[in-house]
Symmetry: C2
Subunit: 369 residues, 2 copies
């Protein structure tokens, strides 16, 4: 593997995946004088509009992957389900960042939980489930309650079953498709928060303020900053996030979702899930921080130093899902709302079409310092 | 002329000119789900990298202009020297914003000064010069001193002569090329400041805080905000800028350069020059304001409401000129510096290659509101 560790302006970042995350990554790269080459099987990918070059090919097309590897200086990805052989093939020829190991772990809930345990961060109890018998035993351990999830390819609430009673548990393994699974202990959490953390090639970590996330129909609807937690909770969240990326020798931005619990009047955090990429719950950084998560990821994968994650404004990020995007003019009519639309040609139910960052800035005026 | 006053996401903004300003405009358009089509004779235009479509053709190519007009929903421009016939031809088929009249005025220093006088803003004394005799008479009026400038096609200190004595004045008209010119009264100003102002289709104006500009070799080197002026001066600057755009029925962003004078211990402003486009001295807005000047211009020419021009941070914008761009890594090593590079393939002496916004934000912390 060649390792041109640090890119120069004019060099090219290859991005696997052409959705909105790839699009916003390409925009950040262009801002800093870097070129992008998007690789995506979908000929209508929104990221193509803003990239220098693109390849339309399946992720399994070895020849296309080899040409792609030869044309770029580093490869990154906008989604965690990059097939393992795709990542390995590219990795043999060009640096792949954040890294192949981060992909392996985040593609498999069991590997992920095992890694998080090893990284000494707090997580909810879990059990490996390969049969209904495994499930029955695990449910006994967790007072008959839990969330049964496929180990692989779950997102936005897909591939999971909520179990609240032994009746729910009966036949649940078959209902999930009799595939390798994990049972997660059901946690009475107050809310979900998330931390966007970045690690550079030289191992420096920076993490943003945490966001309080609100979901509707298992899809993120809003992220609010500040999250309204104690300074100690914020520090704990950051420490755990930095432990996770450090242990993986990770290079880039990661989204770390956590459950916030109230236990005896004290806040407590459990890490729920990691995403080895820029994350929807970090979109608020675009308009409320010095360096957005997209800029930060590009800096990291380019081998450049990280920017400040300092927050200058309060923010509420609101996703525009499906036909909600038709309300774009409402966002524009509020001067403190920053509209982001992904340029998707077709609006579909449940599809992320854009987002709005509602910003409450501390206004400075002439003479103030 | 058809007037589809307000664009919809997915519509296309045509941009005349493919330099860094066109590039940053295209990036703002893409952010808000609009498409761009760049028209520029230079096949190596940096804006092409980030646009959906581009046309390489001379500005005088009637067929290419007609095809361009048919392919876009509105036309804007990144430079004021768009040939008059080009603007008129397009204007007959599609809205041209900020407007044809703004182009006519800003292309001719005499027309500009006459307009500014009519708009009731303060400017330095001036005289129309069509002969050495005109010049001699005008110099007498201005105590033998002034700046002789060609009426058309001057920029970055080109097309002008400084006259500090009658000896300097002798033969100066011929030295300038015996072309239509103006003599501007020489002003003992303290510094140059500038205001970025925007006007929407419905006539609403917003203006940013003013920047204090520092030039080297007649090229802008830094813009600093706050400018360190009184609140009254800031208000005067904004009022004059808004009068200028209102009188022109202007739609878009304008850069208004002003001289700051100290007279009897009082600050006074004289408008020096207008640029009917986004302006180098407004680049600081990208990282210190809720809405950048590029976002603002796109919103205006799309017929959308304007965003807030509120400033959340102090900023010093530093241009990277020529080989200074080789120092990009120095900017990256400061976490509070935001690096912008234009992706120009060739570095040349005096060429604007990028800029850095040095930001001093008021940091917010969890719990603060």
């Amino acid at each position: 593997m060649s390792t041109p560790a640090r890119l120069q302006p004019g060099d090219t970042i290859g991005i696997l995946g052409g959705g909105q995350l790839g699009r916003m990554l390409a925009q950040s790269a262009a801002k800093m004088g870097l070129k992008t080459h998007i690789y995506c099987p979908d000929p209508g990918s929104p990221a193509f509009d803003v990239s220098n070059t693109f390849t339309v090919a399946p992720y399994e097309d070895a020849d296309a992957l080899d040409r792609f590897a030869a044309a770029v200086d580093v490869v990154t990805y906008e989604f965690e389900n990059v097939p393992g052989p795709t990542a390995s093939r590219l990795h043999a020829k060009v640096p792949v960042r954040p890294g192949v190991r981060a992909l392996e772990i985040s593609q498999d809930r069991l590997f992920e939980k095992q890694y998080l345990t090893k990284a000494s961060v707090d997580i909810a109890g879990f059990a490996e489930i390969n049969s209904q018998e495994d499930l029955d035993q695990a449910l006994q351990k967790f007072n008959g309650k839990g969330v049964l999830k496929t180990r692989r390819f779950g997102y936005d609430g897909k591939g999971q079953l909520m179990i609240r009673s032994s009746a729910d548990g009966n036949g649940a393994y078959a209902a999930l498709g009799s595939v390798p699974a994990v049972l997660e202990q059901l946690i009475a959490f107050e809310c979900e928060v998330s931390v966007i953390v970045a690690r550079s090639l030289d191992g420096t970590c920076v993490s943003y303020d945490i966001a309080r996330n609100h979901h509707e129909n298992h899809i993120l609807k809003t992220s609010t900053v500040p999250a309204g937690v104690t300074a100690e909770t914020l520090n704990t969240a950051r420490r755990m996030a930095e432990q996770i990326v450090t242990g993986l020798e990770y290079v880039g931005v990661m989204g770390v979702e956590m459950f916030l619990l109230q236990e005896d009047g004290e806040e407590r955090l459990l890490v729920n899930e990691i995403a080895p990429r820029v994350h929807n719950s970090g979109h608020w950084t675009q308009d409320a921080c010095l360096t957005s998560q997209f800029d930060q990821h590009i800096r990291a994968v380019a081998g450049w130093p990280l920017g400040s994650a300092q927050r200058h404004s309060d923010a509420v990020m609101e996703n525009l899902i499906g036909f909600e995007a038709d309300e774009w003019h409402a966002a524009l009519s509020d001067p403190n709302a920053c509209l982001h639309l992904y340029g998707k040609s077709e609006t579909r139910e449940g599809r992320k079409m854009g987002h709005v960052n509602h910003i409450k800035a501390k206004a400075l005026t002439e003479g103030e310092t």
